[in-house]
């Protein structure tokens, strides 16, 4: 087995080895191309499993790190590592890739070789983004991943693929360029001659600079999330993308925006972030409601799911900007949940699209009769997406509400309206597609889910249930990193928030005379102090 220090490198670059192998396979040997890609992605997944099992939950420090000088003159290193946040994004990516390959087995019939190469390059790019600890490296991966995604939509997409691909590309490029300018500015301004993200955390830039820098990064990431009002590329991209493209887009690519906030925008510019906190929370909440309302009236099921993503990611942003343990852990958890359940929704839409070549809700109806197993799986996924307790979606959603409620009650109240709406649009869609009479003759001959499809849906379902009933293995691995993140977000360098968990909350409460409300006020006071522009001295 590979050494721990080089494990991440193996995980990230094994897809590249796969590409090298594929290059030597003749394009006509379609089955072989599929099997090789599947084997490579499965191998990457198994390679990444030790990251989870050998992960040390007690520290916030980066783990599985590797640092090699790359362009030493400019302080550029090949530096990788993961903490309790990126760990799960890496696993989500490696977990979903084989599933995506399986789902494209019969769906992709043209240019299979190029398609498989694009998928593997995409996997490498995404993994690279999540493990990079050097800003320069991060940016390279960030851009590298754009190209295969652009091709996925533009080459293997639907009828309006060119419009969607270009829209996707321009939107994200606009953000990326802002980020590039900011990264270069940061490099020169810090005077530290380093792109090391962890070192830059300590730079402590002046407030005004932080505000501008944060804005540049935040716009790039907000487009990616996507936050309202930067979301209009998403429905188009989803509708035109092939199934696997939609799955990756929803499950992983959107998470890069959130991850960008968590890894870069907030800890690098904590004061800048606090300056914009109210605005971001408002946009997140608007996104929750707006996405849900617009999802409700979509005639195309893929667009419906796309808008539901806008709503769900509004939840994630709200949780993160609650800036407390409950909110952020909820946010990170919701991020994974959304990856699974929305990914699964797109897979299911893909399955039904392969049979009927339509995605309009009105073209279906009564499918449950023809596809009982498909219907049962679809229902579980729908329930996961609308946050039924006992399935994965609930844990994150509820913790986000707990976190937001502590900051300002109204945030949680409005967000909770989104929970009602999610039931409306999802169940209405489900009813119109699956229930009622089977009155369209085209739907008579549709076959139920086959073995290959069942094979890739089952692992997702198992995780959906597992994450709902037993979230501890996931939450405990986040604790230290999230606590450290909170410290960073408040401009502190040491961990203050993560303390002994063995304290019984009640004995703690009863031991104190002042309870509940007074502490709440204390927290508010902390917030206002930051809002007023609390400065951290520059630290060289």
């Amino acid at each position: 087995m590979v050494a721990e220090s080089s494990l991440l490198t193996w995980v990230v670059f094994t897809p590249l080895i796969g590409v090298a192998i594929l290059l030597f396979v003749k394009p006509e040997r379609e089955e072989l191309l599929r099997w090789i890609t599947l084997a490579v992605t499965l191998f990457v997944f198994f390679l990444s499993l030790p990251l989870f099992f050998k992960f040390n939950s007690d520290t916030y420090l980066m783990q599985f790190t590797q640092k090699i000088p790359w362009i030493p003159g400019y302080g550029i290193f090949y530096s990788v590592g993961i903490d309790g946040i990126s760990l799960f994004l890496v696993l989500l990516t490696t977990f979903l890739m084989p599933i995506c390959i399986l789902s494209s087995w019969r769906y992709i019939t043209e240019k299979i070789k190029q398609y498989m190469i694009a998928m593997l390059l995409l996997e490498m790019g995404m993994l690279g983004v999540f493990v990079a600890l050097d800003l320069f490296l991060f940016y390279i991966f960030w851009e590298a991943m754009l190209i295969p995604m652009y091709l996925l939509i533009g080459v293997w997409g639907g009828p309006r693929k060119i419009y969607a691909a270009i829209k996707f590309f321009l939107y994200t490029m606009a953000g990326s360029l802002l980020m590039l300018v900011a990264i270069l500015f940061l490099y020169f301004k810090s005077g530290m001659n380093t792109f090391d993200i962890l070192k830059l955390y300590e730079a402590g830039f002046p407030l005004e600079l932080q505000i501008w820098m944060f804005l540049a990064f935040a716009v790039a990431f907000a487009i990616k999330v996507p936050m309202f009002p930067f979301h209009t590329w998403l429905p188009d991209a989803h509708v035109e993308a092939p199934t696997a493209g939609s799955v990756i887009l929803a499950a992983v690519l959107l998470k890069m925006g959130i991850y960008g906030f968590l890894r870069l925008a907030i800890p690098l510019f904590p004061q800048g972030s606090l300056y914009f906190t109210p605005l971001i929370i408002y946009l997140a909440i608007i996104g929750i409601i707006y996405g849900a309302l617009v999802a409700m009236v979509q005639p195309d099921v893929k667009k419906l799911v796309a808008y539901s993503s806008v709503s769900h990611l509004g939840f994630v942003m709200l949780g993160i900007y609650a800036l407390n343990m409950n909110g952020i852990e909820g946010g990170v958890y919701q991020m994974l949940s959304h990856g699974l359940s929305t990914g699964a929704l797109f897979l299911l839409v893909g399955i039904i699209y392969e049979r009927r070549h339509t995605r309009l809700i009105a073209d279906f109806g009564g499918m449950q009769k023809r596809m009982p197993i498909f219907g049962a799986i679809f229902l579980i996924v729908v329930m996961s997406s609308i946050g039924l307790p006992g399935l994965n979606g609930f844990v994150g959603e509820f913790l986000i509400l707990v976190g937001a409620f502590q900051v300002k009650k109204i945030y949680a109240i409005v967000a909770a309206v989104g929970v009602i709406l999610s039931a409306c649009y999802m169940l209405w869609m489900f009813q119109r597609m699956m229930f009622g009479k089977l009155d369209k003759p085209e739907n008579e001959e549709v076959s139920d889910i086959n073995k290959r499809e069942l094979a890739y849906m089952l692992p997702v379902l198992v995780l959906i249930v597992l994450m709902g009933v037993y979230p501890s293995p996931f939450l405990r691995r986040m604790d230290a990193s999230v606590a450290h993140f909170i410290a960073l977000s408040q401009g502190k360098k040491e961990v203050y928030a993560f303390e002994d968990k063995a304290v019984n909350p009640v004995s703690h409460l009863l031991g104190k005379s002042k309870v509940g409300k007074s502490d709440g006020r204390m927290r508010d006071a902390q917030f206002t102090m930051h809002d007023a522009g609390f400065r951290v001295k520059r630290n060289r």
């Binding site: 829209k167 321009l170 939107y171 301004k189 005077g191 209009t232 590329w233 707006y290 309302l293 617009v294 409700m296 009236v297 979509q298 407390n324 343990m325 409950n326 852990e329 909820g330 449950q368 039924l388 307790p389 006992g390 509820f398 913790l399 509400l401 707990v402 409620f405 502590q406 009650k409 949680a412 909770a416 309206v417 929970v419 009602i420 039931a423 169940l427 209405w428 009813q431 699956m434 229930f435 009622g436 009479k437 089977l438 009933v469 037993y470 979230p471 501890s472 939450l475 993560f498 303390e499 968990k501 304290v503 909350p505 009640v506 703690h508 409460l509 009863l510 309870v515 509940g516 502490d519």
Partner: protein, 664 residues
């Protein structure tokens, strides 16, 4: 609050039906029908047996220490010191939970058995049983949860099973819509529940029910300043959704689209009482908010009379029973609101017996009548279906409040408390008693229209009329027996009883008595509280309620047996009134016009105008501008490498210049 004794076996109470769900759900289609039914019923029977074991353990303990706890594992835990949000998967059985587990698994078991006969010919038989088991699992989790979030899991879970079972015959659009409506209306109530849990957490920093009770008892100041009012109002919002109270009752009548045993189990006997259970569970919070208790009592009693009035004009046998359920749930909330928690739970139990029986009886009728549900096409079934008739008759007598049957004792106790309790008032009692009269009327109207007179069915239907098989009638008989004797465990003292049921529940509602006296001495309720009503008053009120019930029955007899032409004439005389009742006060139409349609058209506007026109218009406009500008820039794209090299050189020099002079 007692310190619960740790035990290991409680988890098996909910686990058994979960097992049944998994086995039937995954392998059901490959198993023989007998096996499916056996697994479905056997697992629930196992739960019933274990519930009895737990109950026996409780009875053997000191009354004030009666509580058992089985902690399985930590479900969700997140936060920092002092702000740890933690929810366990832990099952609690105290007197209140014990009553609920017995009712749920007991009535549940009978209905499972009945279903073997009723659903015998359905092609989706395994699916049906797996879902019924799933429901039982979630319902047992709900009543055994030791914390608010696990309770919420059960709460949402029963909602899901209800959704699936209402829409069991999903080919029917009305069934599919009814299921969705039930889920969404419940979600509106859940919105309140979720916020209440959040508020409980930030107030007490725990969501464990016994811990909350302990802290609330020791630190009443935590609940001051409107906190108690907010929490209890929000909880009640959830309860109103699940237990079909005004304004969220609209889903329950539509829920009758499901198979009849489902209506009996979920939409009459168990799930819809979850709201009542939850209010009773958090009784200590309600006692800290007397104003909210009044709201609960008033909404309960208004719902009771409102639904009863609709019930008098419905022709669908199941819809009459549905409105009757809403009305009876109103009684239970009336009990909660006047602080008579034990009386409310008592009525919950007796209602579970006789209402389950009524629904199963109705199912037996529908089964015999080839799925006919309109009572105008029934009649004269008394001699053809004697077991169904006699068992239903006892249930009808019970719900009407005829002395000697279970419903009389429980309903009368609620009425008495609504008059005499510190939170009670004459107004609540009067509305309650009028509702009792209406109840007797519409229930006997149902009985007379179904079983008396000439049979109005078509010849085709008549030929198939038959009494149901034993697998269906035996549960009817058992429930009939329970409807008769079920009331005697809570016989009031003035009738020579020991009030055993109430004293059993006393430890859970321990605060209720103190609260009542406390409130009566307080300023807010001093005027409404009736001071120390005497035993003679109690007798008089009891007689009044008996008379009202009898009058209701006599009017029904007059109208639907003696002068069957009268109802139609009366309906024509006051047509607007009849139409109002027949169309259920047009509430559904009102909701549709005032909420649903506006939200949908608003969303359309957001999509078509805001998203597509404003945002995308802007983006595409920007694209257009860039394209135009690019034409200008194209001049530099000459294709000559030397030109490009020149540009690269200039750029590099620029960067170096910047690095040299501006880099700080």
């Amino acid at each position: 609050m007692p310190h619960p004794e740790a035990v290991f076996f409680l988890r098996f109470i909910p686990l058994m039906p979960l097992l049944g769900f998994l086995v039937n759900g995954i392998f059901g289609s490959r198993l023989p029908r007998r096996a499916v039914g056996l697994i479905g019923c056997g697992t629930v029977l196992a739960s019933l047996v274990i519930s009895f074991v737990a109950f026996a353990r409780l009875v053997g303990m000191e009354p004030e220490n009666r509580a058992l706890l089985d902690t399985v594992y930590v479900w969700i835990e997140s936060g920092t010191k002092g702000w740890i949000f933690r929810a366990d998967v832990a099952f609690l059985v105290d007197p209140l939970s014990s009553v609920m587990t017995l009712v749920v698994s007991g009535v549940g078991f009978l209905i499972h058995v009945y279903s073997i006969g009723y659903m015998g010919h359905d092609p989706r038989y395994p699916r049906y049983f797996s879902m019924l088991n799933l429901f039982t699992f979630f319902m047992l989790v709900l009543v055994m949860a030791d914390n608010a979030l696990l309770l919420f899991l059960g709460w949402e879970g029963v909602g899901l099973s209800s959704y699936l079972l209402i829409g069991f015959w999903f080919e029917r659009d009305s069934a599919a819509s009814a299921g969705k409506k039930a889920f969404i209306v419940n979600r509106v109530g859940d919105f309140g529940f979720v916020l209440a849990v959040l508020l409980i957490f930030v107030t007490f920093r725990t969501i464990n029910i016994y811990e909350i009770a302990g802290i609330a008892g020791g630190h009443p100041e935590l609940l001051a300043g409107g906190t108690a009012i907010l929490i209890t109002l929000l909880l009640f919002m959830g309860a109103a959704g699940k237990s079909a109270q005004i304004p969220l009752y609209v889903w329950l009548p539509d829920a009758m689209e499901g198979p009849t045993p489902v209506s009996a189990l979920i939409h009459a006997a168990t799930m819809v009482t979850a709201g009542v259970y939850m209010v009773a569970r958090f009784n200590f919070l309600y006692l800290a908010a007397p104003g909210v208790m009044m709201v609960v009592a008033v909404i309960g009693v208004i719902t009771a009379i409102f639904a009863a009035s609709i019930g008098t004009a419905q022709n669908d046998i199941k819809r009459v029973l549905a409105y009757s359920t809403i009305s009876q749930l109103g009684y239970m909330f009336l009990a909660m609101g006047v602080g008579a928690f034990a009386a409310g739970i008592f009525h919950l139990m007796t209602h579970a017996f006789f209402k389950a029986l009524l629904f199963l009886g109705a199912g037996s009728v529908i089964h015999a009548m080839s799925d006919e549900m309109d009572m105008r096409n029934m009649g004269g079934l008394k001699s053809i279906m004697p077991i169904t008739f006699w068992t239903m008759l006892f249930a009808t007598l019970a719900i009407s409040g005829v002395p000697g049957l279970s419903g009389f004792f429980s309903k009368d106790e609620i009425l008495w408390e609504s008059f005499s309790s510190a939170y009670g008032s004459t107004f609540l009692w009067v509305v309650g008693i009028v509702t009792a009269g209406l109840t007797a009327f519409y229930m006997f109207r149902l009985m007379f229209m179904t079983f008396y007179g000439e049979c109005r069915a078509s010849e085709e239907v008549k030929r198939h009329l038959h009494e149901s098989p034993a697998v269906m009638t035996v549960p009817l008989i058992i429930l009939g027996g329970l409807s008769i004797i079920g009331g005697y465990i809570g016989l009031p003292k003035i009738l020579g009883g020991a009030h055993w049921f109430q004293s059993f529940l006393d430890p859970v509602f321990g605060g209720a008595h103190e609260g009542a006296t406390h409130a009566s001495s307080g300023v807010t309720l001093a005027s409404t509280g009736v001071e120390h009503a005497s035993a003679s008053t109690e007798y008089i009120l009891m007689v009044v309620s008996i008379v009202v019930a009898v009058v209701g029955i006599l009017i029904a007899y007059k109208l639907y047996v003696k002068r069957t032409d009268l109802p139609q004439k009366m309906a024509q005389r006051v047509q607007w009134g009849y139409k109002l009742l027949l169309n259920k006060y047009y509430v559904d139409e009102g909701y549709n016009a005032s909420i649903i349609q506006p939200v949908i058209s608003f969303s359309q506007h957001l999509w078509r105008h805001f998203d597509d026109l404003i945002i995308d218009g802007g983006v595409n406009g920007l694209g257009w501008v860039v394209t135009r500008m690019s034409r200008g820039v194209r001049v530099v794209h000459t294709g000559y490498v030397q030109n490009y090299a020149l540009l690269v050189l200039i750029g590099t020099l620029g960067i170096i210049w910047y690095l040299l002079f501006y880099r700080t």
